[in-house]
Symmetry: C2
Subunit: 96 residues, 2 copies
DNA sequence: CGTACGTTTCAAGCATGGCTGATTCAACGG
DNA sequence: CCGTTGAATCAGCCATGCTTGAAACGTACG
């Protein structure tokens, strides 16, 4: 079901509403990290972490840049703002 | 998987990360509504709406009160606050 | 009382999406 | 080059949770 009308907001929230992805975003909210560093803070198989990072990339919440053999992940600049606005009632709360 | 550490936050976000439930919360953020009124704004089968309302009730985002034949639903007082605090990075953003 | 209405509950079906193991790719080092 | 390391991709399994139809419940009204 999709019900149209707030698909983007819901998609964004679905991206955060996962234990692994939540932990990744929380870790990145502090500072940029390479995948290997993320693996220390988010104890799941490399496979799985990569899968969740892909989901986050596709929603635009996170951006990746290669640095030699490593890949750094960082929160997108507008990530936290977009999340805040995706919550129901946020339009009213922020007095739009 | 649960990864512990932010289970409550994730559970709350999972509750909002659904098209129907998002629409319900958005509608209730304006004013209290009975189920019949909700059905006009959230076009899904009564069955289904009831199921989603139950989910929202169980997370404490919404409270129900019977008024004669009807049942009124309202946002819990702390619903929007809890949602805001459930977002990753919110601890930092609010300068805790 | 019996019927109608609003709402919930139940017992299924079904699909999406998370998880896993194995494979592939890209970059560096010897 | 060749092996190693960091990371992504692929195919497939499996479970959770959304969806649906039918039935049950509570309340009002005739």
């Amino acid at each position: 079901m999709t019900l149209g009308g707030a698909d983007d907001e819901v998609a964004l929230l679905q991206a955060v509403a996962d234990s692994v992805r939540w932990a990744v975003l929380e870790a990145l909210s502090d500072r940029q990290l390479c995948v290997c560093d993320l693996q220390e803070r988010v104890p799941v198989a490399g496979n799985l972490l990569s899968y969740h990072l892909k989901v986050l990339r596709e929603t635009g919440l996170v951006v990746a840049t290669r640095r030699g053999r490593w890949i750094d992940y960082a929160l997108a600049d507008d990530a936290l703002a977009r999340l805040g606005q995706a919550l129901p009632g946020s339009r009213r709360a922020v007095r739009s």
